[in-house]
Amino acid sequence: MKNKYKPYVMLIPVMIVILGIFINGLIMAFIQSLGYFKAIGLTEITFKYYKEVLTSQGFLSSLGFSVYIATISSVIAVVLGVILAYSILRSTHRKGIEEAVYKIPIFVPHIVAALLAYNILAQSGVVPRVLYSIGIIKDQSQFPSLLYDKNGIGIIIAYIWKGIPFVAMVVYTILSNINNKLSQVALNLGANNRQVFFYILLPFIMPSIFSSFIIIFAFSFGAYELPFLLGPTSPKALPVKAYVEYTNSNLANRPYAMVINMILTIVSLILVWLYNKSFELISKYNR
């Protein structure tokens, strides 16, 4: 009996932190999203705010914008990340430098990434200046405006830059652990390199491709700094919208912010569930 409870007892300190701060915050947000905010005299539980938010044009376009940014940037980052991992695996010379260099973007904070994107892609940035000085464009303003535009190109590029090395790192670890002999067997049985990749390597890395997709998707869907710094005024990405509502001086707007946060939370929970499912797939092959 004693032993049965021991792990739970030992988990108490960390659970106090998690339950006390994290879950408590979540519950507070949930209660406020239902319109209970005693500080300003709101005490009636209602789904009014959910209804209003979910039917408002502003919210829907923000949701669409966030889904669009997260999907496009994550898909491109995953494809390029897998290609990068495979190229490092296939390179025959010493891999030390490659293995170190490609990870650098992982350590760079998102705000610095935003600054980099600004320095390089803004109309006064490095790329337009180079294009101008070699005569490809006649004026720096001819360079398409990639930042603050409605298509979110700047945000997507910055997320891709951050995402590729992360995907490559996860996938490369799996790739380099696949028994190299399996590729040899496949070649020996008549498969060409492309077939070896699609029929042997890809099934093994698929679960990790999927889980790394979910991680970067969840991040780019829920993170606030890149769209805030590089995004257009309208539509705003969902986390930016939540922030704006939250910092609104009119406290009566608070339930709207909390509804948006709850929606972000629900989407994240679904992604976590999918993430766990992908691990069941991983263990299928490693049995």
Partner: protein
């Protein structure tokens, strides 16, 4: 014309010479063994034939044409690896089908061929099992079926039986030999097990330190090894030092007439089964004392001391003696092999 010919194959790994001037000819339908200790370059030779490695020097011919520039996936020399290496994410049928699918053979033909292969290796009903659900022997058979499915020009077997326990190993050996004969497929077997090589092969190449020391039929190699290092491969031998003069070999224990006249100082090799012990009689030529005895059921291993020279012999199970017994010794001189002694 020979099906496979290796000409002066040399291979280095990091300036270490792994294969040194390998020459080998395998005829169509033949079963040839590469026999040698681990690290002698057998598996490297196999990988070079398959195209998984390139030689640093020399040429490989299939039916008279060089295949050096033909990549591994088009060469048609398939290896069955020691650890089977089935694809863990594919079931039995998909594993067998793999090579056919890569060759883009249509589905109907593929199914037919898989069915035939499953019959051949007696695994009907196992189509949907995954490798993790199969026993060692079953995995081995799937690996064999997968290799044979694409009708390779040559089948390369890399220590195929070493991961199986001894009874299963004998069964699989007979099984593979039977399939090899049935399909008349040119086969090269890599092994470190002399009995396996002797029992299965038309010809054996003895490999040591990256060189082929001798190549010939099992009987040739056993009866007429060209050196003691080749002879030792086939078990413990007796060596008696002596010299040859005027067509006579003389030593401490035996004097025999011989037509081998090339060297003066020699050692004579005698197989343990060519020495017999019997109960001492009054007219016995050679006598000895039993020094050691190992009873193995169907035979007995004795070590006998004859004039201070220790001889090993394998006896019938009814020739029972005890240690320190004085016995008569009979040596079959017909099978003597002489090796020169280097000074």
């Amino acid at each position: 014309m020979s099906q496979i010919k290796l000409k002066n194959i040399t291979k280095f790994f990091d300036s270490k010479r792994i294969l040194d001037d390998i020459n080998l000819e395998v005829k169509k339908g033949e079963m040839v063994s590469l026999l040698g200790p681990s690290g002698c370059g057998k598996t490297t030779t196999l990988k070079i034939i398959a195209g998984l490695l390139n030689p640093d020097n020399g040429d490989i011919l299939f039916e008279g044409d060089s295949v050096l520039n033909i990549p591994v996936e088009k060469r048609g020399a398939v290896i069955v690896f020691q650890d089977y290496l089935l694809f863990p994410h594919l079931n039995t049928a998909e594993n067998i089908e793999f090579g056919l699918k890569m060759a883009k053979i249509d589905k109907f033909k593929r199914r037919k061929r898989v069915k035939k292969m499953l019959q051949l290796v007696q695994l009907e009903g196992y189509e949907n099992k995954y490798p993790r659900e199969l026993s060692g022997g079953q995995k081995q058979r799937v690996a064999l079926a997968r290799a044979l499915a694409i009708e390779p020009k040559v089948l390369l077997l890399d220590e195929p039986f070493s991961n199986l326990d001894s009874r299963l190993r004998e069964n699989m050996r007979d099984f593979i030999l039977q399939i090899q004969r049935e399909l008349n497929i040119t086969t090269i077997l890599v092994t470190h097990d002399k009995e396996e090589a002797l029992m299965t092969s038309d010809k054996i190449a003895i490999m040591l330190d990256g060189k082929i020391k001798q190549f010939g039929s099992p009987i040739e190699l056993y009866k007429n090894p060209i050196s003691s290092e080749v002879a030792d491969f086939f078990g413990e031998k007796n060596y008696i030092k002596g010299c040859i003069k005027d067509e006579m070999f003389t030593s401490d224990i035996i004097n025999v007439k011989t037509d081998f006249n090339k060297y003066l100082s020699v050692k004579a090799m005698i197989n343990p089964e060519d020495i017999k012990v019997f109960e001492l009689q009054s007219n016995t030529d050679i006598t000895g004392i039993i020094k050691m005895k190992k009873y193995a059921g169907d035979r007995i291993y004795y070590t006998i001391s004859v004039n201070g020279v220790e001889l090993k012999c394998i006896s019938e199970p009814n020739e029972l003696f005890n240690i320190d017994d004085k016995v008569g010794v009979n040596i079959n001189f017909n099978n003597l092999v002489f090796f020169p002694i280097d000074n």
